[in-house]
């Protein structure tokens, strides 16, 4: 009885974050305005965008609003749902996450439903602008077509002396829309290990999945190729191909200054998709309410053309058509770029942060696409 009274007393005394002791409502919002300082025109004279931004000020790309509701079903089970509306999707609200957590004990929990894949240092909070110093997380590393998992995740947290560590194991499937098509991942398996010692943090990730990418133009081209060579068409298509994800993250943050970085490798198995190697290094300092920082990031998604021997083995009259498709698709998906970002975060109070980031983008495939990106953001949490 006493406990119950206390619970309601605390609930009554608490801020807007608590409706009752059993249901917690939290939320976050990012309003990001961004633009490139000049029009982006590629070598062929086509106007293009840079991560969704062009020379007109855009307010929707990096903007979002979200509400998270979690409630205790009983002492062991918690239900969590996060409803998120992204500006890039016309603020249509979607259940980003919906899962049940079964706490076996203080150290071990089992989560089931739709949840975030723990790929990166800021995976879980990559939509919560307030939780990091950039306007947005580095594109080259964080922009991957698999962020959420439908399935199970086991979390184990403990400490050995002053070392805190977390082990996570995820398994299930994912679906995401990318490049006008759909990427599906089956048999996803992901293992993450993270260790923290005072100001130092390290994490290691390894994952694999069987990936399929479908998109009308791509599918039609590969169907055409299949008429020439079904074997080659099957090789170049990303269809139930075994892909892997490997990541390493290091961080030192003593609250006065910090330096951190992540390096990742994504492979797409036997398909048109080249392996992506990406990394970022960031450092900054906290001076009162200001956090100036500098970040260098790069993605290298170019490798030697694949399947040329397969084309050479085809009858001569089919080689030009096959080359066009096989080489064309590989070229189209190549990426090789770097960004240097100078940023400033200002903590308005313990719930609101303002950001100002200027990035210099260098496209290593087409110099003409080099650009300067400016982003101004307001991040809010409650």
């Amino acid at each position: 009885m006493k406990k119950l009274l206390l619970a309601s007393a605390i609930a009554a005394a608490c801020g807007p974050g608590f409706v009752s002791a059993d249901i917690r409502i939290n939320g976050f919002a990012n309003l990001t305005a961004g633009f490139t300082t000049s029009e982006n025109v590629d070598g062929a004279g086509n106007t293009t965008d840079l991560f969704g931004y062009d020379d007109n000020v855009d307010f929707s790309n990096g903007s979002l609003f979200a509400i998270q509701i979690s409630g205790d079903v009983n002492e062991k089970v918690t239900a969590t749902a996060q409803l998120l509306a992204r500006g890039e999707n016309d603020y249509e609200a979607d259940f980003e996450w919906a899962y049940l957590t079964y706490s076996v004990n203080d150290n071990f929990s089992v989560n089931a439903g739709r949840l975030r894949l723990p790929l990166f240092r800021y995976s879980a909070s990559s939509d919560v602008g307030y939780s990091f110093h950039w306007a947005q997380t580095p594109f080259s590393v964080y922009d991957v077509p698999f962020t959420n998992l439908d399935g199970l995740r086991l979390d184990y947290t403990n400490n050995i002396g002053d070392w805190d560590y977390t082990l996570q194991l995820g398994s299930g499937t994912y679906t995401s829309e990318i490049g006008g098509g759909v990427a599906d991942g089956e048999d996803v398996l992901l293992i993450t290990a993270e260790a923290t010692y005072e100001s130092f943090k390290a994490r290691l990730v390894y994952g694999q999945s069987n990936t399929t990418f479908t998109e009308p133009t791509t599918d039609a081209a590969f169907a055409q190729l299949a008429q020439i060579s079904p074997v080659l068409a099957d090789k170049i298509a990303l269809r139930d191909d075994s892909g892997t994800f490997t990541g390493l993250g290091l961080e030192y943050d003593n609250f006065t200054w910090f330096v951190s970085g992540e390096i990742t490798k994504v492979t797409g198995g036997e398909s048109f998709s080249a392996d992506d190697n990406a990394y970022f290094v960031t450092m900054g300092t906290r001076i009162g309410k200001f956090t100036p920082s500098i970040t260098y990031e790069a993605r290298d998604g170019v490798e030697d053309l694949k399947f040329l021997e397969d084309i050479a083995a085809l009858p001569a009259q089919f080689q030009p058509a096959a080359t066009q498709i096989v080489v064309g698709f590989q070229n189209f998906f190549y990426e090789d770029y770097a960004l240097t970002t100078v940023g400033l975060r200002y903590d308005l109070d313990s719930q609101v942060a303002l950001k100002f980031d200027v990035s210099s983008y260098e496209n290593k495939i087409q110099d003409a696409l080099d650009a300067t990106l400016v982003r101004i953001a307001v991040n809010y949490v409650f």
Binding site: I10, G17, Y99, S131, N159, D349, V381
Partner: protein
């Protein structure tokens, strides 16, 4: 001139009172756990969910607008209140943790601590502390 002297004096008093604002961490008198600054930090960051004797912990914070809270964040948690808030925003939106409940006055903290053996809180040392046990850090 006199005015200048008064403002100078007031400014001095203000800064000295800020500098001397001391914290007191308090628990229920029935709590016999041996706690140090590091343990208190772990409890308020949600890294440990139980006292060393295995009993449940209910950490109670002051709201972020309180100078005692800012002082606690800086001295015990080793970061400013915005950084503490950013820390929790990472955990809350992963379902990995729930930040300590917040109350708006020392009196409420003392009241909660005195009534429940699980509660740990902190107040300005100048607050009247009756019915609670002071943790020496």
């Amino acid at each position: 001139m006199l005015f200048k002297k008064i403002t100078l004096c007031a400014a001095f008093l203000l800064t000295s009172s800020l500098a001397f604002a001391e914290l007191t961490v308090i628990v229920n008198p029935s709590n016999t756990n041996d706690l140090d600054a590091k343990k208190v930090q772990r409890l308020f960051l949600g890294k440990d969910k139980k006292f060393p004797d295995g009993s449940e912990v209910l950490a109670v914070n002051l709201t972020a607008d309180s100078s005692t809270r800012n002082n606690f964040d800086e001295k015990i948690l080793g970061r400013n209140s915005s950084q503490v808030s950013a820390y929790w925003s990472k955990l809350v939106f992963t379902g990995k943790g729930i930040p300590p409940k917040e109350v708006s006055s020392d009196a409420e903290v003392i009241d909660l601590v005195s009534k429940n053996p699980s509660v740990i809180g902190y107040v300005d040392s100048s607050s009247l502390i009756d019915g609670v046990k002071v943790i020496k850090l």
